[in-house]
C-alpha cells in the first residue's frame, strides 16, 4: 500500500527581498517578458537592499521559509549610491554566521540584479529554487510553533 502513497513534491518557500530600483524592476521585466520561474518565490519590495535587517532574514526562516534571497542593484549602481555596499558586508557577516552555526549556507543568497536583467532574475530564481528543492525542507532554523 505504501508504494501507492505518492509523496508530494517538496515546494520550498522562498522569500525574495527586492530593491525597488533594480531587482524589483528586474522582476517586473521578467514578468512582462513572460519568463517563468517557480511560484514558490514571493517578493517583498524594499527601497534598497540595505533596508534588509538580519532580523528579517531570521524572521523568514522562523516562520518557515526554506530560503531567503536578497536582491539589490549591482555594486556601483545603487540608487542611493552606497546602500548595496553595506548590504554586501552585512550579509557576508550574517551568511557566514549562519553557516558557522550549521545552517545550510545554500539557503541564503545575495544577488545583484539590475532593472534590465529580467532574464537573469528568472534564472537566478530558477537556480535558487532548484537548489532548495534538492536540499529539502529547512529543519534547522525554523520555529516549531510556526510550522505546526
Amino acid at each position: 500500500m505504501q508504494d501507492l502513497v505518492k509523496e508530494k513534491p517538496f515546494k520550498p518557500l522562498v522569500v525574495s527581498f527586492c530593491c525597488n530600483w533594480c531587482s524589483y524592476a528586474g522582476a517586473d521585466l521578467a514578468g512582462s517578458s513572460r519568463l517563468e520561474y517557480p511560484a514558490e518565490v514571493k517578493i517583498i519590495r524594499i527601497p534598497c537592499s540595505c533596508r534588509v535587517d538580519p532580523l528579517f532574514v531570521l524572521r523568514a526562516f522562523q516562520r518557515g521559509a526554506d530560503g531567503v534571497i536578497i536582491n539589490g542593484c549591482h555594486p556601483g549602481d545603487c540608487h542611493y549610491s552606497t546602500g548595496n555596499y553595506y548590504t554586501r558586508r552585512r550579509m557576508a557577516m550574517l551568511f557566514s554566521m549562519l553557516d558557522f552555526i550549521g545552517i545550510e549556507k545554500e539557503r541564503t543568497r545575495l544577488e545583484w540584479v539590475s532593472a534590465a536583467e529580467g532574464a537573469r532574475f528568472a534564472s537566478v530564481m530558477n537556480e535558487f529554487v532548484g537548489e532548495l528543492r534538492e536540499m529539502g525542507e529547512n529543519k534547522r532554523l525554523g520555529d516549531i510553533r510556526c510550522k505546526e
Binding site: L13, V15, N20, Y24, A25, A27, D28, A30, G31, S32, R34, L35, E36, Y37, A39, K42, I43, I44, R45, I46, P47, C48, C50, R51, V52, D53, P54, L55, F56, R59, A60, R63, G64, A65, G76, D77, H79, Y80, S81, T82, G83, Y86, R90, A122, C146
Partner: protein, 662 residues
C-alpha cells in the same frame, strides 16, 4: 485596527487568465482588517477608481489594498485615487499579482495560491500603515557656484540669465580656470582666450552674479533649499573698491622672482600681481609669502605708488555668511605632477615639459612669447617626443586607473601646432591607444598623423636618458615588438587629469560623496549625472570626472537647469518615506550617522522625558529635507530606534509573516 478594502484587478485576461480572481477576492475578505473586498476588470480605469472611491465612502475604509500590476506602474494612480477619496495617499498597498504572478506562472492553481499570498502580504503591511505627510521646506533663491573655471562660469551665467542670483567662489585671484591657460582648443584650433574672456567679462558684469575671487568655502551647513555657507575672502592686501587696476604697483614691485602660477612656473612675476592680463577682476593681489613687506616689514613701494590708496597691508580675511538654495560644485582639476615618475626625468631636465607647460610655451602671451625652444639652451628643438598616458590608465599604486580622456586630443593638437609652425621639427607621439570619440575628433587626429606627418608610435616609453644634452627616449614599439630609441630635444608628457586634492575637504563639508579618485560621485551614473546624491548639490565639469571643454560646458548647463529646477520652486515637497528616529530609544551611538550617504542624520543634546524621567541625551535627528529613504541607518541601528516610514521594521516583518503563513 484598519478598515481595509481589498480590490482585485482582472487586468482583462492578463491576470484573470491565470489567477482565479474570485478565489483571491473571497479569501481577502477573511484577512484581518478587511471589511470589504471586490474585483474589477481594470482597477486602473476610471471605473475601477470610481469603485474604490465609492467603497471608501460606503464602508468607511481607512486603507486600500489593490491586487493588480506592479506598483511601479500604478502605485501613483491608486495613491491619487485614495487622496481623491479623502484618504491619506500612503494608506495604499499594492500586491503585484501581474508581473510577479500571472505573467510568469502557467498553472492556475499555483498562480492563484501565490496571488492570494501576495494579497495577504499587502494587507498585512497595510494593517500597519500610518498616514504619511511629506515635509515641506522653503527655498532660498540664490545659488552658490564653487569654482570659477569655464564650468562654474557657464553654470553661473545660465542660472543668472534665468533670473536668479548666483555667487561664484574662486580660490585664485581671477576666474577663468584652466581654460584661460590654454592656447588653442581642439578640434577647431580656435583661440581659447578669445572664446573664454568674453564669458569672464559677462560673468563679472552680470547683475545677478557676484564674484568672490581669492576666496574659499569655509563651512557649509543646512540642506537643499537653505544651505548656510561661510565664505572666506582671503586678504588681497588691495582694497577692491579703491583699486582702479592701473597696474603701477605691479611695475614698481621690486620682487620679480615669484613663480607665475599661470605660466606653470615657466615665468616669473612680481609679489603684487594679477595672474594674467585679462584677469577678472583686474585687481592685483599681494602674494604675502613673497612680498618683502610681509617678510621683513620693510618696503611698501606699492603703497607709495598707488594713486587711489588701495594698498592695505593690514587687510584681514573676511568671512561672508550667506544662504543658498543650491550649491554647484565646479572645482575642476589639476594636472598630475609627473615628478613621481623618475624615468621621465621631469624636474631633472628642463627640456621635459608637461602638456600644460607646453601649452603655455606655445601661447603668444606665454613665457617665451610663443617661441618654441629648449629651456636648457634656448635653442630651437629639432625633434620633439610626446608621451601619452602619463599617470593615466595605470594601476592604482602608480597613478590613476582611469583614462583622462582629453590627452589624446590635446597631444594631437600640440603635434599639429608644432608642425604647422615648424614643419622641420620631427614630432613623435608614443601612445597606448589613441581614443578619439567625439565630433570631428578622429578626423582631427588623422589629420595630425596623415597630413602633418606626425609619427605615431604605439609603444611604451621605458625611460629617458640625458645623452650629451639630448634626451634619449628608450621605448618599445608594441606593433613591431622591438625596442626603439629616439633622440629628442624636447619631451612633452601628457599628464593625467587629477581632481584637485583639496576638494575632499569640500566634499566632506557638503556631505557629497566622492570616489576614491576624489571625483564627486553622481546620484546615478546614467540617469542623474549632474546631481550629487546629496540633494541640492550639483556637479559641473571635471570635478565629476575628466571632460573636454564642450562636455564641460554642456554639463555646466545641465547642472544649471537642475539647480533652476529647485530655485524656481517656492516650496520643496519631500518624500515622506524617510527615516525617523525614536528619541526615547536612541542611545546616541552614531552608528546610523556613519552609514548615511547623505549626511541627513544629526545628533543633538535634548531633554528627553522617558516615562517621567527627564534627562539630557544625545539623540539622532533625521533631516527630512535631506533623507532620501534608503534605510541603511535602520539596519545599522542596533536598538531599532531608527525606522523607515512606509517600510517599517514591523511592516516588513508582517509581510514576511504573511508570506510564510501556510
Amino acid at each position: 485596527m484598519q478598515r481595509i478594502g481589498a480590490f482585485v484587478c482582472w487586468c482583462g485576461s492578463n491576470i484573470a487568465g491565470t489567477v482565479d480572481i474570485d478565489a483571491v477576492t473571497k479569501s481577502a475578505a477573511d484577512e484581518p482588517g478587511v471589511v470589504y473586498s471586490a474585483e474589477y476588470q481594470y482597477m486602473c480605469s476610471e471605473g475601477g477608481q470610481l469603485a474604490i472611491r465609492r467603497a471608501v465612502e460606503e464602508h468607511g475604509l481607512t486603507g486600500i489594498a489593490v491586487c493588480a500590476c506592479s506598483p511601479r506602474m500604478h502605485e501613483t494612480t491608486f495613491r491619487k485615487t485614495a487622496a481623491a477619496a479623502g484618504l491619506n495617499p500612503y494608506m495604499v498597498e499594492i500586491a503585484n499579482i501581474r508581473e510577479h504572478c500571472s505573467w510568469i506562472h502557467k498553472n492556475r492553481e499555483s498562480a492563484t495560491e501565490k496571488a492570494t499570498i501576495l494579497m495577504r502580504a499587502a494587507i498585512a503591511k497595510l494593517n500597519l500603515n500610518k498616514p504619511l505627510f511629506p515635509g515641506e521646506s522653503g527655498v532660498v533663491k540664490r545659488a552658490l557656484v564653487i569654482g570659477g573655471g569655464i564650468a562654474g562660469i557657464q553654470t553661473a551665467l545660465d542660472i543668472a540669465d534665468a533670473g536668479y542670483e548666483v555667487d561664484i567662489v574662486e580660490k585664485s585671484p581671477t576666474i577663468g580656470g584652466r581654460m584661460a591657460q590654454l592656447d588653442k582648443t581642439f578640434p577647431t584650433l580656435d583661440c581659447s582666450a578669445c572664446i573664454l574672456t568674453p564669458k569672464m567679462v559677462d560673468a563679472a558684469q552680470h547683475d545677478n552674479i557676484s564674484l568672490y575671487t581669492y576666496s574659499e568655502v569655509d563651512e557649509v551647513s543646512g540642506y537643499v533649499g537653505s544651505f548656510s555657507v561661510k565664505i572666506r575672502q582671503k586678504a588681497r592686501s588691495v582694497n577692491r573698491e579703491l583699486c582702479n587696476g592701473c597696474g603701477d604697483c605691479i611695475t614698481k614691485c621690486p620682487v620679480k622672482k615669484a613663480n607665475s602660477e599661470f605660466d606653470e612656473g615657466l615665468s616669473k612675476r612680481s609679489a603684487i600681481y594679477v595672474p594674467f592680463a585679462q584677469a577678472v577682476p583686474n585687481i592685483p593681489v599681494v602674494d604675502r609669502e613673497n612680498c618683502t613687506r610681509f617678510k621683513t616689514g620693510k618696503c611698501g613701494l606699492c603703497e607709495k605708488i598707488c594713486g587711489t590708496k588701495a594698498i592695505d597691508f593690514e587687510q584681514q580675511d573676511e568671512i561672508i555668511e550667506r544662504e543658498y538654495g543650491v550649491i554647484i560644485v565646479a572645482t575642476g582639476f589639476k594636472p598630475l605632477s609627473p615628478e613621481r615618475y623618475g624615468e621621465y626625468l621631469y624636474g631633472q631636465s628642463p627640456d621635459v615639459l608637461t602638456s600644460l607647460e607646453f601649452e603655455r610655451m606655445m601661447n603668444a602671451a606665454g613665457p617665451t612669447g610663443g617661441v618654441l625652444k629648449r629651456l636648457s639652451n634656448n635653442e630651437k628643438p629639432k625633434s620633439i617626443v610626446f608621451i601619452q598616458c602619463v599617470g593615466s590608465r595605470a594601476d592604482a599604486k602608480k597613478g590613476k586607473t582611469y583614462c583622462s580622456k582629453i590627452c589624446c586630443m590635446y597631444t594631437a593638437k600640440h603635434a599639429m601646432l608644432v608642425k604647422e609652425k615648424y614643419p622641420d621639427i620631427d614630432v613623435h607621439v608614443f601612445y597606448i591607444d589613441v581614443r578619439t570619440p567625439g565630433k570631428n575628433f578622429d578626423e582631427f587626429y588623422r589629420r595630425a598623423a596623415e597630413q602633418y606627418d606626425v609619427n605615431y608610435i604605439k609603444g611604451m616609453v621605458g625611460k629617458l636618458a640625458d645623452e650629451d644634452g639630448r634626451l634619449r627616449v628608450i621605448a618599445s614599439d608594441l606593433l613591431d615588438g622591438k625596442q626603439i630609441t629616439i633622440d629628442a630635444d624636447l619631451v612633452v608628457l601628457a599628464t593625467a587629469v587629477e581632481a584637485s586634492p583639496d576638494v575632499r575637504a569640500l566634499g566632506t563639508m557638503l556631505t557629497a560623496s566622492m570616489d576614491q579618485n576624489n571625483f564627486f560621485t553622481e546620484a546615478h551614473p546614467k540617469l542623474r549625472p549632474v546631481e550629487s546624491p546629496t540633494a541640492g548639490i550639483f556637479l559641473s565639469g571635471v570635478c565629476q570626472g575628466p571632460k573636454d571643454i564642450p562636455e564641460t560646458v554642456a554639463q555646466a548647463g545641465a547642472a544649471a537647469v537642475k539647480a533652476l529646477g529647485i530655485l524656481s520652486k517656492n516650496k520643496l515637497i519631500g518624500n515622506p518615506c524617510i527615516a525617523e528616529s525614536n528619541e526615547l530609544l536612541c542611545n546616541g551611538c552614531s552608528c546610523c550617522e556613519n552609514v548615511c550617504p547623505y549626511g541627513a542624520i544629526e545628533y543633538t543634546e535634548k531633554e528627553i522625558n522617558d516615562h517621567g524621567n527627564r534627562n539630557n541625551r544625545r539623540v539622532a535627528q533625521v533631516n527630512e529635507a535631506i533623507c532620501q529613504g534608503c534605510g541603511a541607518c535602520t539596519v545599522a541601528c542596533p536598538s531599532g530606534s531608527m525606522d523607515l516610514k512606509g517600510f517599517t521594521n514591523r511592516q516588513i516583518m508582517a509581510e514576511v509573516d504573511a508570506i510564510c503563513r501556510t
